[in-house]
Symmetry: D2
Subunit: 339 residues, 4 copies
């Protein structure tokens, strides 16, 4: 950590800071600058965010951290990229590009089985569908809950596709884990630390969506929460951040993909459906995500978007999804991926 | 709801849209425009977000909602401003400006009692302090948990100040409610709907912080979650939104105060400590919040910020807090408030 | 335009609004809603932003525009995509993907000629380089000015590549146009309307960069400024928007590409160098931009980035650029483009 | 400047960096850390942004600047607050709170004189009004240009109020300076460096508005552009930044006021009219700005907002303005200001 002193800070103030740095278990190192002094505090900063408190001391202008605060998620701890096993047929993070497709919400048996078969036939390797729905309005459809999980299991049986579904409450983590092949933490719960800890204690892979206003560093800290509880099977999902632009529902931050590939060994998938909020733009952004280096995609597909209980405007019909998958193969190949 | 058709949309498409609008229980009303048609769908939109799905239909360019999606939180339902009773001595939303002050985290008995007495003597009417701490890093101090609640209760006894403390997990809502006079939902949990529902079922006032990237409309929808479960005692707290600016930790959106006063009857408080993240700026923003119409303030005070386990840089020392309270009285008076 | 009246607005207020709408040359059309009335104002809204002033009238809650405010840039006016001729060898917007590469600033004859030859040999079809530099600091290198234009012309002669360079002042538009094949308007000048008007009066293509906090609609309005003065040869360039994320210099908004393809006939290129600010991420984002549908790319290449006078950290060395171009061919092919 | 090396960077890479630092005229200073080395480069960084180019070198993880890049605008150069003389009657930055009020655009003689008299009678000390208008749409009213300047001069004569008006083109700076008492640089031109340099060469005070997505540091760099050309009379104006929130036109960043007071000696005013875009919120935010420490306010007043050629929805009628001024006196007094 680097402590920048104010121009003209008193010697007494500097001495206090040096003393405090030593108390906290670091070794101070002073650089006398042209207009001000800078103090390096040598020692592992992780787990010692308390050092930030030095910023309140007299004569201190600012404190700059040097190390990233995450450890298990970092490439410094594990250099090779993680490949996470979801089922006998699906692993994420390897050469195969994984496509998870399905409706926003599970609405009924016919709907989910039909969609599962359609996305499988178009080439998807996993099914997605919501049983517990975090909705902005208390008056919106909240999901079929356990009944939805059962229908997803039926669709898995019918199609052979493992499925991912969201969990929104620590109390239902075990229930969801009984049914699902992979648990999803949604964007609105990406810093729900009680929930992150709970999914860190189970033995199922977790798809962690980036919060709407989360920096990449905070995103990795949320992954670290899960991993520090023992579950190393975390897949990161970029799904759009909140910006001033209103032409799209969110701004899909594809540059997060190369940044994350540099900083972490965890696999990265992209969700262009939530990222754009408009089915017109989904295919273009799916291709772009793969070109940027994504290990997988999450795509909303609904057989009847005009009647969907949620997120109709961003869902592809199965026929459009199949067309997209055809073209996606070309981009996967260009990216040296199989699909 | 207003459905805007594309320029040159086919008659067939328009007919389909009209049919769908009727199916959903609305009465359609067509306006033939210069270059395109616009269809008004007459009927109460609330609870019918499904109408948005019309956006996927052929020939539709966009769907514009007309009504706000919240009801209980709106001024249309309740015109007079709500005054919420926290204890025998404290109500929020009336003429008296309420100041809640205390440390970010409860760290020990001496610390919390000493701080409670200091902030009381300076004029604060409530104590704040964290027992369960939502921390970005799993390696940071996570709070004293139930032990912290007990210490807060002791500080209440010693000082006579009721206290507010954060709850971060649906499972501990009842525990926290046993001790606290008011429950706080933090910014990271502002769309943790499972938690919102649970605090909607208790009989204690809830201080709801605005999420970092929440629009004002979404903020009111989260209040609606609590209210729709039966608990009408919700106090809104503006605590800074995430923007590109890095000179402050967040950007305290004080314009949210007059906007909320126009849209809702619920009381509104501001948290300049989290809003700025820097104790140098806290007093100026506290004065500004009161001038903008806030019903109360939440201020971090720590007797030894250099040694605080969390948020040291944004905490005021008791002596600075007391000075701020002196000047605050002048602004409260200008705003026709008592303090 | 749709005027939403307040719930319970007085008849008198409604009558005033109807009168005013007629005065402004529109035909009003009232829809009586469940809780409030909505008035459609029929007539071409473009060039009549004054209608927004109705928002100040008594009883009016909000005014929603229906039409996009741009005309010449819109697909409603021109359905087929524009193909813009830059030189005998280069057109932008057709099947060929156009790559413009070169240094941020022209620094000397050897540097610019060497770079021009290197990027040409790697497959770029245009040279880029700054002679007039808009720098955040008055103390930073401001460019070689006219001398830089002369060196760019020499590099064009040596390499056969036409070049694009930035113009930052209405007074030097003619000078720059004498030398350059295409003029660039930088992000900081994207709403410098005096400059936009001036480049609208010349007969050279203009590359218009998106401003850092410009919505897509405002971006098209700036294009409209140029076009409304007579110059239809406008190429749009997405170069990153400002968000809260600090891991990249800007957030390259690739979803702007499919959105713009839907709304305008103008060609669209992407600048992943400024978009990310870090050469590590440039190749991934270049591939992604092409997959998303970009008509071209703008890439910073510097033979000695460690000694560059500006933007060193985001510049590729010629060898890395050549490698990127190899892989880019695969993505261009997948996108059905030639390169 | 602090150079952070990668964990495990080679000795050769470190030696290259040390060599380069010396070449650039700095003295390097190595701190051997627990997992990586950090190099301090001692020497005045200002005017040497080129050091950032070290970031491209092998083995370098990041480069952190220590000094602020502005000099003339900084408090390190001038400790006491600047008081800027606008006319015989008006100075900005002293104890007196200065209110500049008037219409967005000058529309005619009667309008501007009537408004000038009304705002003067309500207590404003300066008139504002646009003659050259930077409008997002080329089809919107662009201002009366020189005719507008003449009308402003007439209104000054009639009312005794000096006036501020915007300049949008380097070519018309001298013309505007002939008439106006203070020149305004608008938000869209806040990084139009050609214009900033030109207003730096005249001898009239300049009101510089913050760009919509400008950091506070960039804001001060734009002030530095003007000052480095010789004109020290710069007044900063916070007018709202662009965020995701749509309930207000912009988000007025009042925390910029205490931040700027800490970093610069220049006076700071706030513009709640553009900041909120809605006349309902103007008074509350004007009070808040004064409480936060603003030296002045800029307020849009129009005698007939429903018929204004621009910005009607955010303009106050003279009667509402007068009421606001009454209450403003109370807040000015609380802030120890005269009005």
């Amino acid at each position: 950590m680097i402590i920048v002193m104010k121009a003209g800070a008193a010697k007494k103030d500097k001495d206090e800071v040096l003393k405090r740095i030593r108390e906290l278990g670091y070794k101070p190192h002073v650089i006398h600058g042209a207009t001000r002094d800078v103090i390096g505090a040598v020692g592992d900063e992780r787990g010692k965010l308390i050092l930030q408190s030095v910023e309140s001391m007299h004569g201190v202008e600012s404190v700059l951290p040097i190390l990233q605060p995450y450890k298990l998620a970092s490439k410094e701890v594990k250099k090779e990229r993680s490949i996470i096993r979801v089922s006998d047929t699906v692993t994420i993070g390897g050469k195969e590009l994984i496509v998870m497709a399905g409706p926003c919400s599970v609405e009924g048996e016919e709907q989910i089985i039909e969609t599962a078969l359609a996305v499988r036939d178009a080439g998807a390797q996993m099914l997605r569908g919501g049983a517990f729905k975090p909705r902005t309005s208390p008056y919106s459809f909240q999901g079929l809950e356990e009944e939805g999980l059962k229908l997803l299991a039926k669709a898995r049986e019918a199609s052979g596709l493992p499925f991912v579904t969201e969990v929104i409450n620590p109390e239902t983590v075990e229930l969801v884990a009984e049914y699902a092949d992979m648990l999803q933490i949604g964007a609105r719960n990406a810093q729900n630390f009680a929930l992150l800890k709970r999914v860190g204690q189970i033995h199922k892979p977790v798809l962690l969506k980036r919060g709407m206003s989360m920096t990449i560093q905070e995103f990795l800290m949320s992954a670290e929460y899960i991993m520090s509880e023992g579950n190393q099977s975390v897949i990161l999902c970029e799904r759009g951040i909140r910006t001033f632009e209103t032409a799209t529902r969110n701004t899909l931050d594809l540059s997060a993909i190369p940044v994350l590939r540099e900083k972490t060994h965890l696999p990265i998938v992209a969700d262009p459906s939530h990222g754009t909020g408009n089915y017109h733009y989904v295919a273009a952004m799916a291709f772009a995500a793969v070109a940027a280096g994504a290990d997988g995609l999450m795509i909303e597909v609904h057989s009847d978007p005009e009647h969907a209980s949620s997120d109709g405007p961003q869902s592809l019909k199965p026929s459009k999804f199949a067309k997209m998958m055809e073209k996606l193969k070309l981009f996967a190949e260009a990216a040296d991926r199989t699909l």
